[in-house]
């Protein structure tokens, strides 16, 4: 059992409390799901609950954390705590230490004091349960984000601890893979394991959650049985994304066939195939996106969605077939040329931030395109995404949701007619996800063509005009929503 009593914590060199007088009991065999906006203190709660804050972090600490009735400070260190608690962090890539999937899990098992037979038995069982047997000899670094999350979970499950703390273990997983993880965790709960999970996908976990905790500004704003907590409408919107009403604009009329042939499409993909070295990723893809459309591209991890959109600005060049952007074949353009027409927002906004202020971060793209008089453009872009007050802040100090919106502002300021976003709601709570989608809808109304890659079919259903579904590198359906 883990108990937190009146726990407050302030990170070194900061003044604002990351946790404020937080009390919570994680009873044996129970499952607590913690959710809330980015920057609410969910990850800090995980670090506090497993003693990492106490043993590894500086900063101001107050309150008491006990594990199995013993103060965490009385444990000799994390190695001793690790005998009781297993934790999966939100960054799956950072938890890949070894060079094959099997080695990653086997190495975790070697330090548990088990016999060789037990180790082999548990290794086989964990690989089977987490559906990793087929990936046994693969390098973890070359797996998809979702597969890496499964490997990180498997290595922690291998430890056989009774308490599991999981920080967004399904953030990069598609619907199918998320259901697999829910199945695994439900099974573990059935075996009596205690689970603390930070998640934004309440709908998937609702059947296994005993207690729902909603955090805001470092404190618990709601806690209790899920049905009780969700009675509060404001809290409900944080927990369950509600995209209803975003698609208020009347859908674009279906153009007549003759009209369709005449109009220059924003994006025209003709018989596109692409292979990474010798591994095929796209097969004979044909898509036409008209100017001003809002298109959602959905599909499971590894179905080729990101590979497809990288062709739009020539980060990748078709192996065979053609891609035309506003009537120009990408083969005849450079990436720099296409940056004027296509803005691409990647899944992880931290891959782009390097400037000292939010303002300078946006100015970088503008200078690259030779746009002068940047101040007015920057202010307008920041206003568009609701970040004007953060103009002078260091980009990496912003919360995950704010960083995502800043990434959108960086692209919006460059005023490309086509804006492509790869999983723009990853790691965001319901309110933040809705805010991002409202911004995109507003941009569509202003005349931009929007293409969104997502695992979330609600986004496709409630926000997009069209949904393109991909599977194993092929478009298997393309329909109006």
């Amino acid at each position: 059992m883990i108990e937190l009593k009146d726990v407050s914590y302030t990170y070194p060199h900061t003044v604002q409390e990351a946790l404020h007088r937080l009390s919570l009991v994680l009873a044996p065999g129970r499952c607590i799901m913690v959710t809330g906006p980015s920057g609410a203190g969910k990850t800090t709660l995980c670090l506090a609950a497993c003693g990492i804050l106490c043993h590894e972090y500086g900063g101001k600490k107050a309150g008491l954390v006990t594990i199995n009735g013993r103060n965490v400070a009385d444990y000799t260190g994390l190695s001793e705590i690790a005998k009781n608690i297993g934790i999966v962090f939100d960054d799956a890539e950072a938890q890949m230490i070894f060079t094959t999937v099997e080695e990653e899990i086997l190495s975790a098992l070697e330090y548990r004091g088990l016999s060789c037979e037990e180790i082999e038995k548990r290794l086989a069982s964990i690989m089977e349960v987490t559906y990793l047997t087929a990936l046994r000899d693969r390098s973890p670094h070359n797996l998809s984000g979702g597969q890496k999350q499964r490997v990180a979970l498997a290595a922690t499950l291998a430890l056989g601890n009774d308490v599991l703390i999981l920080d967004e273990p399904t953030s990069e997983l598609d619907e199918h893979a998320t259901r697999r993880i829910v199945e695994i965790l439900s099974g573990l709960k059935g075996q009596g394991k205690t689970i603390l999970i930070v998640e934004h996908k309440y709908a998937h976990f609702r059947d296994m959650v005993d207690t729902l905790v909603v955090m805001e500004h470092g404190a618990i704003s709601a806690v209790g049985a899920p049905e009780d907590v969700l009675r509060d409408e404001r809290i409900r919107k944080i927990v369950i994304p509600d995209f209803a009403g975003i698609k208020t604009r009347a859908p674009l009329p279906e153009p007549a066939p003759s009209e369709r042939a005449a109009a220059t499409p924003a994006i025209e993909v003709r018989h596109l195939s692409y292979s990474y070295d010798e591994v095929p990723a796209l097969h004979d893809v044909c898509i036409r996106v008209n100017a001003g459309e809002f298109v959602a591209v959905v599909g499971e991890n590894g179905s080729g969605k990101t590979t497809l959109v990288k062709q739009f600005n020539r980060l990748l060049t078709p192996t065979t077939g053609d891609v035309e952007i506003l009537g120009r074949n990408t083969r005849d353009c450079t990436i720099a040329d296409l940056a004027h027409d296509v803005g691409l927002v990647f899944q992880n906004p931290d891959h782009m931030f390097f400037a000292d202020t939010v303002r300078d971060e946006i100015a970088f793209g503008l200078e690259n395109l030779g746009i002068t008089d940047t101040d007015a453009v920057i202010d307008a872009a920041l206003d568009e995404v609701g970040l004007l007050p953060t103009k002078t802040l260091y980009p990496r100090w912003l919360s995950r949701g704010e960083r995502q919106r800043l990434a959108i502002a960086c692209v919006v300021a460059m005023q490309p007619p086509i804006i492509v976003l790869d999983e723009p709601t990853t790691g965001l709570d319901g309110d933040e996800a809705r805010l991002v989608m409202e911004i995109l809808k507003k941009l569509q109304v202003q005349g931009h063509t929007i293409v969104v890659i997502t695992h979330n079919r609600d986004i496709a259903q409630y926000c997009a005009d069209r949904m393109i579904t991909m599977e194993q590198g092929r478009v298997i359906s393309d329909a109006r929503t």
């Binding site: 070894f98 098992l109 390098s139």
Partner: protein
């Protein structure tokens, strides 16, 4: 994308060797190439390593690094020519006809010789270490180092340093793509590379620091630092290891004999 200096899952001669045999192999190769100054001998060593790579089905991985190794070798030769003029002059980098500075920066036979020796030593070291690293799982490396009574923290530091290479490689590529999508065109060549430093390196370092924190915590929470390990799937010395050790013994003895009686072949 091929990962630099990372284990490759294959079943070849080198993969089947015990890590101790491979450690012995790189020690012998390193010492011999540092002692030797004869260009033909060093070329022979490079050729022997390439043959060994081919026999172990690792030639593809070794050849992938060949371009980088050749570029570095050319750099070595150029630096040596510029900084260590020695022996007969073959010509000048600045033609003698140029007023005032004509005839400076001589290209000398001695400097080219030293440059070639350095380049060949570099090739031997890179190929030997590459063969060792791409055929040895880090887990086996940890076990071998533990048996040599190295402190676990140093072993883990070594493993982490190796493990960060592909992370930085993949992360660097993603950041590069993200900046290119924002219209960044640093240009090609050395000046382009220098210009691209801030937008690539700052996010790379910031993200790597965050990652290293999570990695350190993962190592602790998986109990790797407890040092109490069940010896599962331990490697034992086999026929290949005895063959390798015999080969190394013959090589060492031959090296010493040649060094004494026909030193011109090596030095």
């Amino acid at each position: 994308m091929a990962e630099i200096l990372q284990y490759v899952h294959k079943d070849g001669f080198f993969h089947r060797l015990h890590p101790f045999s491979k450690i012995l192999f790189i020690i012998v190769a390193s010492v011999m190439c540092v002692l030797a100054t004869g260009i033909p001998f060093l070329i022979l060593m490079v050729a022997a390593l390439l043959i060994l790579a081919y026999a172990s089905h690792l030639h593809r991985e070794v050849i992938q690094q060949l371009r980088l190794v050749l570029v570095m070798s050319v750099v070595f030769v150029i630096i040596t020519v510029l900084t260590m003029p020695n022996g007969a002059t073959l010509g000048y980098l600045v033609p003698q006809g140029v007023p005032a500075i004509g005839g400076s920066l001589p290209i000398t036979v001695g400097a080219i010789g030293i440059g070639l020796v350095l380049a060949l030593r570099f090739m031997v070291l890179i190929f030997a270490f590459q063969l060792f690293l791409i055929s040895t799982q880090p887990r086996d490396l940890v076990h071998s180092m533990e048996k040599l009574h190295m402190p676990i923290d140093y072993i883990l530091m070594f493993i982490i340093a190796l493990r960060f290479i592909p992370t930085l490689q993949i992360e660097g590529r993603r950041i590069h793509e993200a900046q290119l999508a924002r219209g960044y065109n640093p240009g090609s060549g050395m000046i382009g590379k220098i210009k691209s430093v801030a937008p690539i390196v700052i996010p790379l370092v910031s993200n790597a620091l965050l990652r290293s924190n999570v990695l350190g915590l993962t190592i602790d929470m998986r109990g790797y630092r407890t040092g109490i390990r069940t010896q599962v799937r331990e490697r034992r010395l086999g026929t290949g290891d005895y063959a390798m050790m015999s080969g190394l013994a013959v090589t060492i003895v031959s090296f010493v004999i040649i060094a004494i009686f026909a030193s011109g072949l090596i030095f």
